[in-house]
């Protein structure tokens, strides 16, 4: 299983991203990731999660792509529109992206 995670926007408008290969993770990390994906029912989530009641500005925007066996799914949301069930996965991915060496360009 492979995951591509991208966070853009926020006050600073800087994009960070990370690629994760589940096979390269420790058993503990892989188990945590699998649990977060399962609890979020990731493959059943809509590809774009927009909550019209979510207003405001400077929120982070997220794009998560998970490739697993023969299926692939991408979900886009913000930290205002993400359902509670997705938050643990977002936190886990955010943490990974913040600690990973960052892409030395923010130019889209």
């Amino acid at each position: 299983m492979k995951i591509h995670f991208e966070r853009s926007g926020g006050f600073a408008g800087m994009t960070i991203d990370v690629d994760i290969d589940a096979h390269a993770l420790s058993d503990t990390e892989r188990e945590a990731l699998t649990t977060h994906l399962s609890n979020a029912e990731f493959f059943a989530l809509p590809s774009a999660i927009n909550d019209p009641s979510t207003t405001g500005a400077d929120r982070f925007s997220y794009r998560i792509t998970v490739e697993s066996d023969d299926r692939s799914h991408t979900v886009e949301c913000t930290d205002g529109s993400a359902p509670a069930s997705l938050k643990p996965l977002l936190d886990w991915l955010n943490d990974s992206a913040r600690r990973a060496p960052r892409n030395p360009t923010t130019q889209p």
Binding site: S8, G13, T54, T55, A57, R98, P104, T106, P108
Partner: protein, 390 residues
């Protein structure tokens, strides 16, 4: 005044707020009605004391209208969190709390004392801020109702930290609060050019709050946005530069500031809601050039033109750069005369960013008065209702 409420509410407002969120359905209903009642009474009291058309300074001197509450999320994502400082309370010693309190006060003062606007909604909406939001949260945002600030990279080892706490820059606080002002006025859609304009107005008034607080004229200001946010580990001065977009940082880890300062470098992207934090560099640079040409305090002439542009009810929610170019030039002409030095400065500033004024010649005979904002409803219940029901 259009609310009469017979409720007698003896519970302090902060307890009512807690009850309104976490009480039984009956308690929530009671608390909400009490809060709404006290809010309408406060508005009535202010209007009675201040009278219609009283000078802005009179209200400010009387200490009426500015009401701030700072909460702490205690490193969770619960909003608004625990109340830690209210209006008139002494400093807490917690830098984030006190910066949020002082910064929202400085922003209120700019809008009230310079532009005659009473808070975010023009009707003394209380200014709520939450600090210590989440853990390792490199951001500040406006959630539609309040300001929220993270502590930056405090969870990382010192040598890996890139961001300080987001209250550290006064202009960030002015920026977030201005998102509220925009929401209540032009309500610019947060995507593509209208979104970049939304960001631009926030950067402008954030910079003006900082310059006014520091008593800096336009040629003495640094025109940096978020100059205190980056740690010493980062090769950069700030998050953005209005004076020289694209030069705020150039760092091996964070990359290079991607902001353009000229229309020919406009960035088309799907990230960041269509680059709202990127393309704002173009109008930001124009504003800097205009303020510099006008000289003196940027919040006076340039700030007034921009405030009127945002609040005149003339911009559509999907306004593009060209709409703001035309309207700022028109308003400068109305305020200072067609062909005046001020209008020429506005046109010159936009030209430096690759944009030119289009349309008919301005009409010098229709100065805009103070009553140009879109009409507001008289129901103070409405926003509390929104607050508790959204």
């Amino acid at each position: 005044m259009c609310i009469r409420n017979p409720l007698h509410c003896i519970i302090p407002p902060y307890m009512l707020e807690s009850m309104a969120e976490r009480g039984t359905p009956q308690q929530q209903d009671y608390a909400r009605r009490c809060l709404a009642s006290s809010n309408s009474l406060r508005t009535l009291r202010e209007r009675t004391i201040a009278g219609d058309g009283s000078p802005a300074q009179e209200r400010a001197t009387a200490g009426i209208g500015k009401e701030r509450i700072v909460y702490s999320a205690n490193n969770t994502t619960n909003l608004p969190g625990q109340r830690v400082r209210g209006e008139g309370d002494p400093s807490t010693g917690d830098a984030a709390v006190d910066e949020a309190y002082e910064g929202s006060g400085s922003t209120y003062d700019l809008y009230q004392q310079v532009y005659g606007r009473d808070s975010i909604d023009g009707d003394n909406l209380r200014l709520d801020s939450t600090v210590h939001y989440d853990r390792g949260f490199d951001n500040a945002f406006w959630d539609g109702r309040q300001m929220v600030y993270g502590d930056g990279d405090q969870d990382l080892p010192a040598e890996q930290r890139l961001f300080n706490r987001f209250t550290a820059s006064l202009d960030v606080i002015g920026h977030e609060l201005t998102h509220g002002v925009t929401q209540y006025t032009a309500n610019l859609v947060y995507r593509n050019q209208s979104g970049a304009l939304n960001e631009h107005f926030s950067d402008v008034f954030g910079a003006l709050v900082k310059q006014r607080t520091l008593n800096q004229q336009s040629d003495a200001a640094d025109w940096l946005v978020g100059a205190e946010l980056l740690t010493d580990n980062v090769q950069g001065d700030a998050i953005r530069s209005m004076k020289a977009p694209g030069t705020a940082y150039d760092d091996p880890v964070l990359g290079k500031d991607p902001q353009p300062g000229h229309m020919s470098d406009y960035v088309n992207t799907t990230q960041d809601n269509g680059g709202v934090h990127i393309n704002s560099g173009i109008p930001n640079f124009a504003f800097y050039r205009i303020a510099l040409e006008l000289g003196g305090n940027a919040w006076d002439k340039a700030g007034t033109i921009w405030y009127r542009t945002l609040t005149a009810g003339r911009l559509s929610q999907n306004a593009e750069f060209q709409d703001v170019v035309n309207l700022t030039s028109e308003i400068a002409g109305n305020l200072h005369g067609a062909g005046s030095a001020e209008q020429r400065a506005v046109n010159n500033g936009w030209a430096a960013a690759g944009l030119s004024v289009a349309g008919a010649p301005v009409d010098p005979g229709t100065p805009e008065g103070p009553g140009e904002e879109p009409p507001r409803g008289c129901n103070p219940f409405a926003r509390l209702f929104d607050r508790f029901t959204s």
